[in-house]
Symmetry: C2
Subunit: 203 residues, 2 copies
């Protein structure tokens, strides 16, 4: 097995943190997004949708999309469970994962893509007004996650999960997106510090 | 249990089709998005993120986000399996589900939200240029899904899955979004007809 990875892509970092939490070590090939390597015919043969990361299995089959890659390893290596346990637990992790994607990760990514000079080629046309709308949405999302974290350690409950990984990656992505995390969101900041202190955060 | 539903929301339709495929019948309460009922304090008590649908369990706990609701019922009623079977099958369904969301459902939704007069209040400011970018992206996505469907009946393989539900709902959503499905995409059109012919499509 081999993972096509990008040091710069937040979605690839989600997979790297997930694998670190599972204590799995996979061979990786870097795809240089700045050089548009993900748009080349050879990479398009691996993933026609041109997204990074992608996992190539030993028989040549490809699993793309970061959460699909994580789910594959969850099935192969169920411990520690990172997608929740039991019907309700798994639904709750899915709910928080989706909320973090829709109300934090995506607005932050859109703010970045529509404002950062490095994204002029990949996101064309850049729409500064759309970046501003998404900065504001990310702040609304942050306030709601802060409230949810008031009474629990991790976003989906007592146990660390893939939803926390999505949260950490999204919060770290606020810096290049030029979104300041308000000082007043003390639960969100405590959560981020807890997640950032885990060895997996370096992945 | 009760589902807070919207006849107008594509995400709510995903859940209704899923439940129909599982032959499950749940009490539903309609939330009128046109009247902004999902923004009221009473609905925000159910779902602070103000999304529809939401599932309220008998003990009052809430599972929001359409895919999380579907996953909960998959866990309770595993047959027929709609999230795939086996490690690889489940990863493949997750991959196609994500691809359909990112490269079809979302561009179609963004084209709709940023161009349709009915969305002037909910999506403010509307950015017509962003609608056009997303119309073009939806067409690129459609061509890729058409290619993937060349040699198989359903998008994730031989079995119908939640990814097909996402595809049908997204394709039906092209009409209000004013995106024509090209005649040349014969595999995509055959797929849509197959899905639309299932009794669940009326849900």
């Amino acid at each position: 097995m081999r993972i096509y990875n990008s040091k710069a892509a937040p979605n690839a970092r989600r997979v790297r943190i997930f694998l670190a939490e599972k204590k799995l070590d996979l061979p990786m090939t870097d795809v240089d997004l700045g050089l548009l390597e993900h748009k080349t015919p050879s990479y398009s043969d691996i993933n026609p949708f041109q997204g990074v990361p992608a996992l190539v299995l030993d028989d040549g089959a490809v699993i793309a999309e970061s959460v699909a890659i994580c789910r594959y390893f969850e099935e192969l290596h169920p411990e520690p469970p990172l997608f929740g346990t039991g019907a309700r637990g798994r639904a709750e992790v899915e709910m928080w994962q989706r909320r973090l994607e829709l109300y934090l990760f995506m607005p932050v990514a859109l703010a970045f893509r529509h404002s950062h000079p490095a994204m002029r080629v990949l996101e064309s046309p850049q729409l500064p007004e759309w970046a501003e709308v998404n900065r504001a949405r990310a702040l609304v999302g942050m306030a709601r996650f802060d409230e949810a974290l008031r009474e629990r350690e991790f976003i989906a409950g007592d146990a660390y999960s893939i939803a926390d990984i999505t949260g950490l990656v999204a919060l770290d992505f606020t810096r290049p997106a030029k979104i300041a995390i308000p000082e007043s969101l003390t639960h969100l900041r405590r959560w981020r510090e807890t997640l950032a202190a885990r060895p997996s955060a370096a992945a």
